[in-house]
Symmetry: C2
Subunit: 181 residues, 2 copies
DNA sequence: TATAGCATGTAATTAGTTACATGATTAA
DNA sequence: TTAATCATGTAACTAATTACATGCTATA
């Protein structure tokens, strides 16, 4: 049974204690979405499929009047997640960065336009870095409170240093296109 | 008139002297595809649309028996490309990295499995770096021969140092998960 | 003479986002 | 009481890949 990547996102999130589609999406939006996005349009149908496949067990959990379906991993679900995590298939990797694409074509620009492009790119990466730094305290708390969110926290650190790498590269190029002026 | 990103890839590639769909795809495959991919299924229909919109001018160019359509930018095409390059719209940015996604869920793994994941990630980034280093001599030659491929070359340098950054990060994490063992 | 490369194109599929509808609960 | 948040779900759309069909030319 070949599962989609979205399915593994869900299995992993349920393993981290996110029981509902809503909770899964909320965590995705402040974590994996920087390297693997997922929308409601994927999450809810996939939750249903995973239940039907016996990898998740769902339970209606009224908690009052509000409708709410709570999920947990079955043994088969745990196994499917682990098999994917340890599989030796090539790891998918894909980047779309419009800034780099424009930079690739920057021979068509004037020196000041090149500098402006790099400044915008740098500002966007610095903005991303700021947003991640704002997420950090909450992530740190979650790591300390909950068991087993150590690696979630480490990917946040990756995000911060990666955004820093990109911003630095932009700054370096900015200086370079200005002196070549 | 709102153009797709693929349209700008094509306009930019034609500006760099790639006249046919085939030539465009060939350059994409060793350059932008590392930060912006494009397939034949996008390129040929888009070339036709850009001609119909008057941004490209196409000419059948038999060159013998083989069918071949040669394109060049019109003034409107040049303008559309320039407008996009200098536009202040937010720059799209999207990453999908299965290695990072697995790392995010690595609390579910044993210490040796974590190290194995990071080793595979590092090997993949080192492999990418090698492939880019192999492309480099050709890109350097193109930069020196042709006018106006300076920035194409600089994005290759970005790719090499970026792959290096990722490989180094993996190596650092590999050491870290081993000592926490 | 056969294989690799040049060259164009599209049909079918898959993946994914967007936008909306619905309604309960909690905090200001 | 009103806005924000919790919560589920899907229909319509858009984007993009894959896989194929076709056929010429140059080279080993």
């Amino acid at each position: 049974m070949q599962l989609s990547r979205a399915a593994y996102v869900i299995l992993g999130m349920v393993r981290l204690g996110r029981r509902t589609g809503y909770e899964i999406k909320s965590l995705v939006d402040v974590s994996t979405r920087f390297f693997w996005a997922a929308s409601y349009g994927q999450i809810y149908p996939e939750l249903k499929r995973l239940e039907e496949a016996g990898l998740l067990e769902g339970e209606d959990d009224p908690e009052s009047g509000r409708r709410r379906r709570s999920h947990r991993l079955t043994a088969a679900g745990e196994r499917a997640l682990h098999d994917w995590l340890t599989s030796s298939e090539p790891l998918e990797h894909e980047l779309r960065d419009e800034g780099l694409l424009k930079f690739f074509f920057a021979d068509a620009l004037e020196p000041d336009e090149r500098a402006a492009l790099l400044r915008r790119m740098r500002e966007q990466y610095e903005g991303l870095r700021q947003r991640l730094l704002e997420i950090q305290p909450g992530a740190q708390a979650a790591r300390d409170e909950r068991g087993g969110e150590e690696f979630a926290y480490l990917t946040l650190e990756w995000g911060i240093s990666h955004a820093g790498f990109m911003a630095d590269w932009c700054a370096r190029m900015e200086r370079r296109v200005k002196e070549g002026d």
